[in-house]
């Protein structure tokens, strides 16, 4: 047990950066979770991975294909390629192998943008946060794309959503963001409540009208102006400045 702690300590002292840091984050949320490998590969319900003398080929192959008949699924088609490579690099690092690629340079956000990133997806706010409907920097649910980063808070607060329409379905009328319209079925987001609901309706049973009274306000009002300023700094840092 003591040896395991020393190994864990050694891994901690290696000051993982770049790809290893990225790998440790993906690992903590994917491989360590539940009764599985532990955040530092110390094992638990699933086998220990740190200090096992695994080589790169073995780590890559098991991560890709999994172990049939166990809870170890194959991540080859599940993780995006950079995440996959990062996890493999992290497990290699846990086994004392330096990864050959360094991965992307760790991105640094200035403190205001970093604060904005946290506010964007601030879980304490429940559904009343930006990430309920927007996905930026891998955070959140991609209901609506952010077409243009507002110049300032005043502009953000005044955003009107002209593409939000009014849908009449049976006895319901609701603000709708149309995803697809086919001959048989129409798929749209119902924005009556937050979170939005993706609904599938018969095309001949829905009537779409232009314009809706829907505004951003219900979620925006959970933020104070200085907080929205920080969120805009985060959006500029990740999506680019308004042109």
């Amino acid at each position: 047990m003591r040896l395991a702690f020393l190994l864990v300590l050694a891994a901690g002292l290696a000051r993982p950066q770049g790809i290893i840091q990225q790998g440790s984050e993906v690992f903590a949320k994917t491989c360590a979770i539940g009764y599985c490998h532990g955040v530092k590969g110390e094992g638990g319900g699933a086998p220990k991975l740190a200090g096992r003398g695994f080589d790169e080929a073995y780590i890559t192959s098991v991560t890709r294909a999994g172990v049939p008949g166990t809870a170890m699924q194959g991540y080859g088609t599940i993780l995006a390629r950079p995440e996959f490579n990062a996890v493999v690099a992290y497990v290699m690092n846990l086994n004392g192998i330096e990864p050959r690629t360094s991965g992307p340079a760790p991105r640094t956000l200035d403190p205001d943008a970093q604060r904005g990133r946290e506010l964007f997806s601030d879980s304490v706010r429940g559904f009343a946060r930006c990430s309920t409907c927007h996905q930026v920097d891998g955070l959140g649910i991609a209901v609506a794309a952010i077409a243009k980063v507002p110049v300032n808070v005043a502009e953000l607060r005044q955003i009107t959503a002209s593409h939000v329409r009014t849908a009449d379905v049976a006895s319901e009328r609701f603000p709708a963001l149309v995803v697809s319209q086919g001959g048989r079925r129409t798929v749209l987001y119902d924005l009556t409540t937050i979170p939005p609901v993706l609904r599938t309706v018969e095309s001949n049973a829905v009537r779409l009208g232009d314009g809706a009274k829907w505004t951003h306000a219900s979620v925006l009002n959970s933020y104070r102006d200085p907080e929205l300023d920080s969120i805009l700094a985060f959006l500029r840092a990740t999506l680019g400045s308004p042109k």
Binding site: A28, K29, T30, A32, I78, L139, G140, I194, T200
Partner: protein, 545 residues
Amino acid sequence: MRFLPLFAVLALAFAGDGATHSDWPQYGGTDSFWRYSALDQINTANVKRLAPVWAFQTGDYEMGLQATPIVIGGVLYLSTSRAHVYALDAADGHLIWQYKYPQPRGAVPYGPQNRGVAVSGGKVILGTYDNYVVALDQKTGVEAWRVNVEDSKQCGCNITAAPLIVKDTVIVGGTGGDSAHRGYLTAFDIRNGHLKWRFYTIPGPGEKGHETWKGDSWKFGGGATWMTGSYDPDLNLVYWGVGNAASDFYAGERDGQNLYTNSIIALDPDTGKLRWYYQEIPKDVWDFDSSYECVLLDREVRGRVRKLLVHVNKGGFAFVLDRSNGEFLGAYPIVDNYNWIKGVTEDGKLIGRNEPVEGKAAYICPGAAGGKSWNQIAFSPRTGWIYTPSLEVCSDLVAGRQEVIEGGSFFGGNFIMKPPPDGPAHSHVDAYDPVTGKRQWSFSYKYSLLASMLATAGDLVFTGDPEGNFFALDARTGAKLWSFQTGAGHRGSSVAYSVNGRQYVATPTGWGSLVSNALTPVWPEAETFRAGSTLMVFALPEDRK
């Protein structure tokens, strides 16, 4: 359906009808969660002739087949780990429709697992492994609505349990208790998916109970609601078990009682407001969730008929509460090996806590897999007994302070499974008087029993084992009366139903889940327990029923 014997009718009248009849309409059978069928065509006298009549292979082998099938009006609804749903003819297994939830992009926490659907109001509702609630048209399987509960990558949570539908409200819990996460129940309108309410199991600033958390620990304190609740329509109360506090084994950062983790909560289903709570384990440091099923029955306690709630937690103790107000009425162990506490006082206090320590292994029973896993107990009004699955496994637990990564693993320590002091690891099914805790009989088994109990009016208790056997015990004696090798291990919940007067018993087969894998250190034979994903259905031969 046949007429029930008179004494069964009397027992039902006494206890309130928590029995299922021709349908198996809800996850726990009915709102009362008895997992008991009033069907008695298959009984102790003829169960030896029980034979398979059809099987359905789902093709989705991930994490085994953990579901409870739902049967309504001769149609059986079955869900798999990857949130595929099948509507089958319950008499012959032919496919009526299928729905395959699109595979999410990226990894999801806790992996793909699904324990069942809920069916009501013309819709089939399920939770998904990337944390959406999905409603399908009951007749066609076409998706009607879909709503995200929280970004699963951020919260380290997802939905594995079947939802509970109360009137037009879909109530759904989530996993995440072993992640840095704050648990909740969320309710949606079954008609259109609109949010109705959310109840956080950890009170926020300004709310009563918030003072039971130190500093910011409430933000990531666990309290997942990862199984399915019960409902009392007369009291209009929903009951839900709340999971462990986090980090699981290290409480240095969350000094306090940690409400409402490890509690039974009673909510108004229309508003989500808390009516009462009872915390079984203040400041949990063993990962001993109270998240399992709440069985509702009416029985005499000390000379007075009470509306009871019987609940077995992961620490291997059954708690008996008055479900109208949460009053503690008693507790008793359902495991032989326990040392995490010495016992529970007459007023519900835990005595002799044996807590894991920082950086040093402590031998604690039951182990981190629990004295009972999420597979459910059953209650028979005919015998008046509950039937419980128990695990006799311990752990070496090590506690350690852990940095918070929102949504990341947050055990605050580690564990390895160990055999109990009284011999090799094993498990057992027992019959108990639910109020006194008096054991009536015990059926022992050498490996882990991780499938639910099903009780029937034929005085049978059905369950399955990891070696692939589906078997029936005599509800009154525990004698094994019938067994059939289904070819894969059992981790789901069997049900009974009837179509055109013929009784069927259906069981999911296919070994899997996180706990089943975590038990490998005490049972190396677990390497031979077969994965799979097949629903097996049994009945008496037609000429002899």
